[in-house]
Symmetry: C2
Subunit: 515 residues, 2 copies
């Protein structure tokens, strides 16, 4: 039996795990030229995975020339394997250079799920992978005019070393914009950052030491999982359920407030990280009662709440709810915000609202992290906001995304087989899909990719108890016709996979009865 060990909870797809481990066995000499390897069906049974998973791994190894199939005889390690002294990857890892880098790195991290959300999309593919804005709606002429204007009026200051709390005109424009939305914020309560991901890094540096505990929604944004893992912070899961329990135990979908309180009782948490509006990845929104309860708990247990507000302005239907920050009477909320979702993620500008004492500290941390945020981007966004462009763009994008969400929902209704559930967000950029139990969305992705359709498997978003039968569809950057086509393909591939699963279940049942 081959000594393969799979990690289903890993972000690395199973077929890649199998491929890489088999390759290692060849290069380490455990498998030699001429050795026969198990039929894909047998190895699949041994590993407890679908046969397609093994077939995919074999296909890649065959493409590399390491294995070869002979009709009627089986699959064998080729002679080429012997002539390749080392695989390409370990060559750079072990190093022809003077330093054994692996032994010097602070930890043994693999590729993050985050990497897989920033992929190179094959041209022609329909990608629901990212939660990012629609580039074809960027107001390029207006942005160009803003760039011209600020470089003309304030070029020397923009290009010179700046201030760690942000470029003055952007700070002013933002305070005014926030005031127009009904949030009275003083200048000392605002820090400009490079966006939501950096804000998390700054919070991590300002508040957390290795071993400290943070309460987070599970599933959540992979960038939060990654930064806390890298800082060796303990992340404690507060479940967010998309499907309302089961028939026996029906439950409100969303954040489990009972679990939040239990986690607060059981852990000395330093922070609670929540996304009340259009949560990533589920698209769910917390009710106002739930928001009030969260603030009560935060006050009671004296734990600050970090509110991720980056999607909140993208509400298409329903009544806007006050943010935790707006409801906060005692100053326990740190609100993270950004232009990335409502504007332009290529400009790395976000901001942070918090009590002065916290902003003061975050400013020092920001300074040692990168001195300050890029000032050309800040100036262009300041001018864009000052001219009312931000408000106009937002209004326009709400309509665009609302239409895309409607198209997605219509296509889902039409193409998804029975037993598939999905969330019904009132805004944001994502819909969260739950496949029937036993399905694996990573497997589904392999087949969907072959048909030119991509999405994010649910496992990227869990830092505990991953649910392999979930996936996220980011709809904002996909135009309506492509949404319809993409979902149709997903529906077909899913039906195929369900049929295959059904068949193999029946087959293995048959085998069992033969034994």
């Amino acid at each position: 039996m081959l000594p393969l060990q799979l990690h289903p909870e890993s972000h690395v797809p199973l077929y890649i795990q199998i491929r890489d481990q088999l390759r290692s066995l060849v290069f380490s000499g455990v498998l030699r030229p001429g050795d026969r390897i198990p039929a894909s069906r047998d190895l699949a049974r041994q590993l407890g995975v679908h046969r397609t998973t093994v077939a995919n791994a074999y296909a890649e190894l065959e493409a590399e020339g390491l294995i070869h199939g002979h009709v009627g005889r089986g699959t064998f390690i080729t002679g080429a394997a012997a002539r390749t002294p080392q695989p390409p990857a370990p060559a750079t890892a072990a190093g022809s250079d003077g330093v054994r880098w692996e032994s010097l790195f602070a930890d043994e991290r693999g590729e993050e799920a985050l990497s897989r959300l920033l992929p190179q999309i094959p041209s022609g593919a329909i990608s629901f992978v990212a939660a990012k804005p629609s580039a074809e709606h960027f107001p390029l002429d207006e942005m160009r005019a803003c760039a011209q204007s600020v470089l003309r009026s304030d070029g020397q200051r923009i290009l010179q070393l700046g201030s760690s709390d942000g470029y003055g005109p952007l700070r002013q424009a933002l305070l005014e914009f926030l005031r127009s939305e009904g949030l009275a914020v003083r200048e000392e309560q605002l820090l400009i950052t490079d966006g939501g991901q950096q804000s998390l890094d700054l919070l991590c540096k300002a508040f957390l030491r290795p071993g400290d505990a943070v309460l987070m929604e599970n599933p959540t944004y992979p960038g939060a999982i990654a930064i806390f893992a890298s800082a060796r912070v303990r992340t404690i899961a507060v479940p967010v359920s998309a499907v309302g329990g089961n028939d026996a135990r029906p439950r409100e979908p969303g954040l489990d407030l009972g679990a939040l309180e239990a986690a607060l009782v059981q852990n000395r948490a330093k922070l609670i990280l929540l996304t009340p509006d259009f949560q990533n990845p589920t698209g769910l929104t917390m009710s106002i009662a739930a928001r009030r309860r969260v603030l009560e708990l935060a006050a009671q247990y004296q734990v600050p709440v970090v509110e991720d507000h980056i999607y909140a302005r993208l509400r298409f239907t329903g009544t806007p709810l006050p943010s935790l920050k707006a409801l906060d009477r005692v100053g326990t909320v740190i609100q993270l915000d950004s232009f990335s979702k409502v504007g332009f993620p290529g400009l790395r500008v976000g901001w942070c609202l918090a009590p002065e004492r916290v902003i003061e500290r975050l400013r020092l941390v920001k300074q040692i992290t990168d001195l300050h945020t890029d000032q050309l981007a800040q100036a262009v966004l300041a001018e864009f906001t000052r001219r009312g462009g931000f408000a106009r763009h937002l209004a326009r994008m709400r309509r665009v995304y609302a239409a895309r969400l409607a198209a997605l929902e219509a296509a889902m209704e039409r193409h998804m087989p029975e037993g598939v559930h999905w969330t019904r967000p009132q805004g944001g950029m994502c819909v969260w899909v739950t496949l029937p139990p036993g399905m694996d969305s990573s497997e589904l992705l392999i087949h969907a990719r072959e048909r030119g359709v991509l999405f994010a498997p649910g496992r990227y978003f869990f830092f505990q108890s991953p649910q392999p039968n979930t996936l996220r569809l980011g709809f904002a950057a996909v135009e309506e016709r492509k949404i319809a086509r993409g979902v149709a393909v997903l529906g077909e591939v899913l039906r195929q996979q369900m049929r295959r699963q059904e068949r193999s279940r029946r087959e293995s049942g048959a085998r069992v009865s033969l034994v």
Copy 2:
């Protein structure tokens, strides 16, 4: 006797320490309205500081209305002190809000020296504080044309979510530029960052755990001191001496290679951080023999060298020396570079050259730190470099800065009293000044500031064994006439201070002989 405790090694000037501690004594009720406080001369003697230091503290407290001097009787706490229930600073610190933030922060950090190098300069002042480029020479028209061009040709991509290793066209432009300088770098060996400070942060995350040791020049760049301190990394000093020993033990100025080797023997260092060209703050450059020796030691002890290369292109005279990276045959060097010193620090763009294995890791760390660097800044700099603007601007700025350095040196020769020494850099942005023993540049700064001239006291740059009689003059952003005027003022103030010191030495000598 007043229970005051001064910390001469702190970055906080002594007079501020005295002011704040006296204020606390008033607000805590230890000192009450009507209490008499010691004459400045007496308190100075008690604390072992110059009388002016205490006088400065008293002047500020008097301006706040907390103390008042009565001719012939002494200085008293005023009645106003009683009516001010709490000082302004502690009010926000203790917090009227619900959370005791101080208890939640990861550490107890005060203001960093770094903050003091990014100050709001009073208008009209002559500031030698920062090492930053000359803003009036920024090629604004050209930059505006570049911004127009890239937003027109590639606007959608620039404003959309990008890649963690950098914007493609900038990567290509940089590789070509580096090749034109004679450095053959492969694409896999390059990572775009937000500048030198972020590169240090990324290295810190990729390589260092709390307690790990890094060897650094002492004095060095305060941003390096700050980021390693915040990560709880041990920094081990390798002395850089500006003055060549003394007459009894003459020594080559620069990095102490013997101390470097001793530190490598005594510590399991993870990294050696060096600035071979125009070191900040001393302006010194390592000889080629010293560079070769550093690489030998690095190979022998298997410790990577991080080479800060951000000033290297600013050579005005003498022969350019190959960088550590260029001399490196085995791949132990990680080179940090940036547009900030040679171009525009307001655009936060730098880069990192390293073996592929390291870049791969740094890319993952970059991603969890801020996803990617701002793309508008990257695109503008790519276009600027591609058009040859970078090379042209660099050639021009070398001439500008050479003239400024010459003006500084001429003014120093003319105005500095005997016993003052300074480095003679062949490039860069800083000259390092050593005052006669016993002088304190922080004291000097108080008086210079009153006359409208600012500089950076040497203590900001030491993380061990600070030399209070040192200071850094950043000349690049100061035009020649202001340089002449500023140095003349410094010379005058310094002579005054030396006379005062001489007098007080004689006086205390006299007192001693009276006793």
